[in-house]
């Protein structure tokens, strides 16, 4: 970690450094081919720190083939788009028919960190990832932007971007939404299974971490920003201005609860099954999951803590060296049509970041339009907070501390 940051960006130097990397990578091609995931991600021995340390790097762009190749490669999270009874994706198929652009939709984005590990070696080497657009969570967008791995969006190709919900237009990690546009948003709150809590509701993080009746039957998320964020708010901190001490104090609370045997484990989105079966009594959960779980288990409880809860988004980004940038932007523009987004929202049950969706759904599905977890009221939104962007140093330190606790 370089301590003295260079405020000015020197494009020539950066270009030199990058080409050097590229060439070295070419020489070490054998090793790169040989090593899967982990090893391919290895830094090259003796690699000098780039001059742009600390500052955002300029992303590389490739010649756009959009006009000649009517194709776009989109990577997204599993089960994150509308699917009909026949297993087809109606909105996507409609776009393909309407635009003549073939969308290769891959559900290969299972986890921010895993996906990052997969594409980093290519992006680091200045190569095309084979993908034109994907959906990353806020903090990952911040990291990708910092590393120069994503390109600015050409808003001229996305006139519908004007439909973006006002609360999301100016986020700290991407002022003016130059690099990203939200795909879906959601809250992290507390879910519980009354069968296992003895009918008791779990309403606060304090209760989740200390109520003896839940001992050993609580799961938290491996997503640090949701888990620690909720504890910070419980302790009266704000997520946009907490300090390293606040973070450490929150981790201490977490550590104590873990040592007391209150917490069974830290999970990704695999928390849903044990929650439904009752093996997990209460947990931190995401709204979209809960809405879907409740269709089969209406008794499941979900609480947005009074002291605050996290609001996150997964955002469209276009990676460096993408071959079909304009086509990707057309896809984004298409989904920013409220009528289209309404279809997606009706299926995935997360919060749609596009204005006008609620109006569309009020006509077609009023019960959904009235669901506060899908169309939160202003009062609800006012209590939600977004985890602030972390500096590179903070990100490293906090993640290390949090993971030491998770795997300790």
């Amino acid at each position: 970690m370089a301590t003295n940051r260079e405020p000015e960006f020197n494009p020539q130097l950066a270009a030199f450094a990058r080409s050097a990397i590229t060439r070295r990578t070419a020489l070490g091609g054998l090793a790169a081919v040989a090593a899967t995931g982990f090893l391919a991600a290895c830094g090259t021995p003796g690699k000098a720190p780039t001059a742009s340390a600390g500052a955002s790097k300029t992303p590389l762009s490739a010649p756009d083939l959009s006009d000649t190749e009517k194709v776009v490669n989109w990577s997204n999270w599993p089960q994150y788009i509308d699917v009909n009874d026949k297993g087809k994706r109606p909105t996507l198929d409609a776009f393909i028919k309407e635009s003549g652009i073939k969308v290769k939709y891959n559900e290969d984005y299972n986890d921010n960190d895993e996906f990052f590990a997969k594409v980093r070696p290519l992006l680091e080497a200045g190569k095309d990832t084979g993908r034109d657009v994907w959906c990353s969570t806020d903090w990952m967008v911040a990291r990708l932007k910092r590393l120069g791995y994503i390109q600015p969006l050409d808003k001229a190709n996305i006139p519908n971007a004007a439909n973006l919900a006002t609360s999301l237009t100016n986020v700290e990690f991407d002022p003016g939404r130059a690099f990203s546009l939200p795909w879906q948003s959601g809250f992290a709150g507390i879910a519980y299974n009354p069968k296992s809590t003895g009918g008791k509701a779990v309403t606060t993080i304090d209760q989740l971490l200390h109520d003896a009746t839940l001992k050993g039957k609580v799961t938290l998320l491996t997503e640090m920003r949701d888990t620690v964020g909720l504890i910070l708010m419980e302790q009266g901190k704000r997520l946009d201005n907490f300090t390293a001490e606040d973070f450490a104090a929150a981790l201490q609370v977490l550590s104590d609860a873990k040592d007391a045997g209150q917490i069974k484990g830290f999970t990704g989105n695999d928390y849903t099954k044990p929650l439904a079966s009752g093996d997990t009594a209460a947990c931190v959960a995401w709204t979209g999951d809960v809405v879907q779980l409740r269709l089969d288990n209406p008794s499941l409880g979900f609480v947005l803590p009074e002291k605050g809860f996290t609001l996150w988004s997964d955002n469209f980004v276009i990676p460096a060296m993408a071959q079909h940038k304009k086509n990707a932007e057309k896809v984004i523009n298409y989904y920013y049509d409220p009528k289209v987004m309404a279809e997606v929202a009706a299926y995935v049950n997360y919060i749609a970041p596009v204005q006008g969706v609620k109006e569309v759904l009020t006509k077609s599905d009023p019960s959904m339009a009235n669901n506060d977890l899908i169309f939160p009221s202003d009062a609800t939104l006012a209590k939600s907070q977004v985890f602030r962007g972390l500096t590179a140093e903070e990100e490293t330190t906090f993640t290390r501390q949090f993971q030491a606790l998770v795997t300790g």
């Binding site: 970690m1 982990f38 090893l39 290895c42 830094g43 021995p45 050993g216 695999d270 093996d279 998770v406």
Partner: protein, 304 residues
């Protein structure tokens, strides 16, 4: 070649000899290339990575920072030890379950042999993750298995052994070891089957004829003759089990974290590649040393 054959010109002989020298090398080349590309290079790359310092923003530089090893081991030795204990327990369980099973399939199953072998491999037809998740359902709190353990009081035995902490089976060392044993059972059964199937049953007659009772026949004849299968089975089970992180992640709790989970977290989430590499290297070295000692103790090279 020592004999000088009259009438054969030396030039010709040299040419023949050169072919003779190079042919094995040529034949070995693909294997050597494979080994180099998929083992030597990655190993060096891993070693290099483990001695680097830096971060993803500034890149990693080789600084011969051996400290990483000391720190990694100092902080994560409990997870190392736990991984070895869990993998060892799972190996013993698979051996205890797999040996009679392999014997039955090899010598007692008659015309059902093929079917039983297919059944042993059948779990591989499903995804590793799905198979492990199935154990969440098997060991669920309200399920019959947990009910049985509670009703018979076996749960107290497990508690006394420290294999469960409460009256639940799921999310405990017990669940993790069970999951490991289940997932790696075929790796134990198949080599054992091959070994036992080959075993000439006439040796059993001979042992009985020479005054060995059932136990001694097993211990002095069957067991030593099946050692090659036992050794390969235990290695095929222990090595991947020691590095496994899915079972402890899905079936364990915060006190059952195995080293695979730590490496996963260090590599994927913390992005501390040197520590992840150092941990991988330590795991690899530990396993190589243990396997070396084990194979020597088992003395399999002596066997036919």
């Amino acid at each position: 070649m020592a004999l000088v054959v009259p009438g054969v010109r030396p030039v010709k002989r040299r040419a023949v000899r050169r072919w003779g020298t190079f042919t094995p090398l040529i034949l070995l080349a693909p294997a050597m290339l494979w080994l180099t590309v998929f083992f030597v290079v990655p190993t060096f790359s891993l070693a290099s990575q483990s001695l680097q310092t830096g971060d993803i923003d500034n890149g990693f530089v080789l600084t011969w920072h051996f400290q990483t090893y000391a720190e990694a081991l100092g902080r994560y030795w409990p997870q190392f030890l736990r991984s070895l204990i869990y993998a060892g327990s799972a190996t013993v369980i698979t051996l205890l379950v797999g040996y009679p099973l392999a014997w039955f399939i090899a010598h007692r199953s008659g015309r059902f042999k093929t079917m039983l072998l297919v059944l042993v491999i059948a779990p591989f037809f499903t995804n590793f993750l799905i198979r492990t998740l199935a154990w969440q359902i098997i060991l669920t709190d309200t399920g019959p298995v947990t009910g049985f353990f509670r009703a018979t009081g076996l749960i107290h035995v497990l508690q006394w052994l420290g294999l469960v902490t409460s009256d639940a089976l799921l999310y405990s060392p017990f669940a993790v070891i069970s999951g490991l044993a289940y997932n790696f059972l075929p790796f134990m059964v198949l080599p054992l089957y091959t070994s036992l199937e080959r075993l000439d049953l006439r040796y059993l007659d001979a042992a009985g004829d020479l005054y060995a009772n059932g136990w001694n026949t097993f211990w002095k004849v069957i067991w030593p003759l099946s050692l090659p299968g036992v050794v390969s089975g235990t290695l095929l089970t222990f090595i991947p089990a020691a590095g496994d992180y899915i079972n402890s992640k899905l079936l364990g709790n915060t006190q059952t974290v195995m080293i695979g989970q730590v490496i996963d977290a260090q590599f994927l989430r913390v992005l501390d590649y040197p520590t992840a590499a150092a941990l991988s290297f330590i795991l690899m070295a530990t396993i190589i040393v243990m396997v070396g000692l084990y194979v020597r103790a088992a003395g399999t090279e002596e066997l036919v």
